[in-house]
Structures are given as structure tokens and as C-alpha cells.
């Protein structure tokens, strides 16, 4: 801090700068372009980077505000939360309005998940900035660097959600027809009337079966939004031959009602089974679809015990 003394900078400038820098870097890292291709344009990047910058500035300024002490100033963090909720609404609206012209739909669950992520990332950035500037204040630059790295690690590793590959096995499956009914192994997908379409689907289509590893996974892929997300990801990665006037080629995921296995059918531009399996495994588990009925066991047991004792009416 002595080095900067001659520059005649304000007292807390290092604290704030360290926080802002760490926050901004974490936003850039979280905004890596991925296979979902969103946001894919410079304007989208700029909007998110600027908001990330504002978020990190807010987080970093909070430390001097508390130390000064100017406790009322810290309440602006609440205002920030309001702003970030607005981001979620904007993201949701943008994606929803694009959805109507999308041939293979993302589905509302996926959109909600993306919107929520964008909101949450700003809180992460704010937290990173706050922790870093606090460390700078208390322990100097070396502590700041360590804290910033730790915060970045937390952002990258703990906030990236589960993938379908973590909870399900994905195996290649066979496309066939039972009369007019298109089947993925034993799972019925849809009724295809025209023989020419049937031939094309059998010749050029691909299918996989997604087998849940336990009850929780079964409940997750039971969700329609989650299955929509699977079909969407597959279509993004492999391409689809679907067009407005050939709705037969819509990628679809249907489940076997008895086993909970999900069959995914797609008519890809590139017929590559390896990539389809990778696409299914890479699909994120949506927050809204995620469900853990197995862990509800303890609650159920407690209720049963009460019932046995006569504490609860049956």
C-alpha cells in the first residue's frame, strides 16, 4: 500500500480494486461459451460483463462501507439484489420470445434454469468481490490472491450442476416399427403414417436409451422439461433434419412407464452414435426437474411411526 502512497490514491482503493478485479475475472470465467451457444453474440457478452462488473463493484465497496463505519451504505446490496432479479426476468423474456421460432424447443424448464443461473452468477460475482476485498483489508495482497483463487474455484466447481451422465447410463438403442408406431427398443415414441418416412427414419435415425441408476434419477428424467432438454441438446449437437413441414423428424424422448427408462429418438444431420451418447450425457440436470424422493424415506418413516402410535389419523 506504501507503493501507491505517492500516487495519492484514496485510502481503500486497493481493497476495492482487488475486489472488483477478482469479481470481474470470475464473471468472465463463468461466461465461457459452451455447447448451448448462449449467449453467442458480442452484445450478449457485453451486457453480462457490464452487469458482472457492477456486481463486483458493489461487493467490493461493501467492505470499506462497513469499516468506515457506514452501515446504512451496506443496504445498497439489497438494491443490487432487486436489479439482479430483473436480469432473470429479462433473460426469461428473451428466451421465451425466441422459443416460438425455435424448431426444436428448449422448453420452459430449461429457460427458467438458464435465467436463474444468470441471476445466481451475479451473486457469486458479488460474493467473490466481497471476500477478496475483505481479505485485502485484513491480510494484504497475498491473502487477497489466495481468497480470489479459492472463490474462483468454488464458482467453477461447486456451482456447476449435475449432468445426466452423472445419474443415468446412456446406451445405444435400436429404432424399429411396430405397425405405424415408432419404437426405441421397447418404448413407443410416436405414430408415423407414411411408409416413406418410416424407411427414412429407420435408415437415418439414431436412438439411445437413458437408464436411470436409482429412484432419484428416475424421478428426474420423468420430468417432461428434463426430457425436452435432452432432445434439445441432442439436436444442438448433432443437428436435426426437422423442418416446419416435416414434423415427423422432431427429436423426442418418451419413457417406458414400467421401468422409467427414457428412449430418445432423433433424425440427425450427422449420424454419429458416439456424439449422441455424449450429448445425452452432457445434458444438464435441470433444477426444476431435479428430485430426490429416495431421501424422503426418513420423513415417510417418521410419519409411519406416528401412525403406528396413533398420533396421526390414517
Amino acid at each position: 500500500m506504501n507503493v501507491l502512497g505517492w500516487l495519492n490514491l484514496p485510502e481503500y482503493i486497493m481493497v476495492i480494486l482487488a475486489g472488483v478485479l477478482a469479481g470481474a475475472i470470475s464473471r468472465v470465467l463463468l461466461l465461457r461459451i459452451d455447447y448451448r451457444q448462449y449467449p453467442g453474440y458480442p452484445h450478449g457478452y457485453l451486457a453480462h460483463l457490464s452487469l458482472g462488473f457492477i456486481a463486483s463493484a458493489l461487493g467490493a465497496v461493501a467492505v470499506p462501507a462497513i469499516l468506515e463505519p457506514d452501515y446504512t451504505a451496506a443496504t445498497f446490496l439489497a438494491l443490487a439484489a432487486q436489479q439482479f432479479r430483473e436480469i432473470r426476468n429479462i433473460e426469461r423474456k428473451t428466451l421465451e420470445s425466441l422459443e416460438s421460432t425455435e424448431l426444436v424447443k428448449r422448453g420452459l424448464d430449461y429457460i427458467e434454469g438458464i435465467a436463474r443461473t444468470f441471476e445466481a452468477r451475479n451473486y457469486l460475482v458479488m460474493g467473490t468481490a466481497f471476500a477478496t476485498s475483505l481479505a485485502t483489508q485484513l491480510g494484504g495482497l497475498s491473502a487477497a490472491i489466495i481468497t480470489a483463487l479459492a472463490a474462483l474455484f468454488v464458482c467453477r466447481h461447486f456451482m456447476s450442476g449435475e449432468l445426466i451422465g452423472n445419474i443415468c447410463d446412456v446406451v445405444p438403442a435400436e429404432l424399429s416399427f411396430d405397425g405405424p408406431l415408432l419404437m426405441v427398443d421397447e418404448i413407443g415414441i410416436m405414430n408415423i403414417g407414411l411408409a416413406s418416412m418410416r424407411e427414412k427414419i429407420v435408415a437415418e435415425g439414431l436412438a439411445v436409451k437413458i437408464i436411470p441408476r436409482d429412484g432419484n434419477a428416475r424421478a428426474t428424467i420423468h420430468d417432461i422439461g428434463q426430457r425436452n432438454a435432452l432432445a434439445f441438446t441432442a439436436a444442438v449437437i448433432l443437428g436435426t433434419k426437422k423442418d416446419v413441414d416435416i414434423p415427423e423428424f422432431t427429436p423426442m424422448a418418451r419413457k417406458n412407464p414400467d421401468t422409467g427408462d427414457v428412449g430418445l429418438y432423433i433424425l440427425p444431420v450427422e449420424k454419429d452414435m458416439e456424439r449422441l451418447i455424449a450429448a445425452a450425457r452432457l445434458t444438464p440436470v435441470l433444477e426444476s426437474a431435479r428430485s430426490k424422493p429416495l431421501t424422503a424415506g426418513s420423513v415417510v418413516k417418521a410419519v409411519r411411526k406416528k401412525q403406528a402410535k396413533g398420533g396421526l389419523k390414517k
Binding site: G193, L194, P247
Partner: protein
């Protein structure tokens, strides 16, 4: 797909005595005509051709 806005756009059949009702019905003379009419209609109406039974196709627009 999931908004339950599916609607029957047309019915194409060779069995005149089997169908009647609200949706437009197209009668075909034979199986070949049945297929060609269905293909044309599916392109025109952007809908999927489903086989209801032998000789009867329905064209459905899914949500």
C-alpha cells in the same frame, strides 16, 4: 408438444363409410392416392401424418 394444442387438420381415407365429422375429410380412390394426398396435405398444413388404421390417415398439427 406439451401444451396440448394438438389438433386434427384433416382426415384422408379410402373407407368412405368409416369416417365423418368435424375435420375436413378427403376421400382417396386407392392406397396410392391415399399416400400422395396425405404427403401433399402434410406439406401444406405442416402436420404429421398418422396412421389410424389401414386405409385411414389423420393429419395432426402438434403444439
Amino acid at each position: 408438444m406439451n401444451q396440448n394444442t394438438d389438433s386434427i387438420q384433416a382426415v384422408v381415407t379410402v373407407n368412405k363409410d368409416k369416417v365423418s365429422g368435424g375435420a375436413p375429410i378427403f376421400f382417396a380412390r386407392n392406397e396410392n392416392e391415399l399416400v400422395s394426398v396425405s404427403v401433399s396435405l402434410s406439406k401444406i398444413l405442416d402436420s404429421t401424418v398418422h396412421e389410424l388404421e389401414r386405409g385411414t390417415y389423420i393429419l395432426v398439427r402438434h403444439g
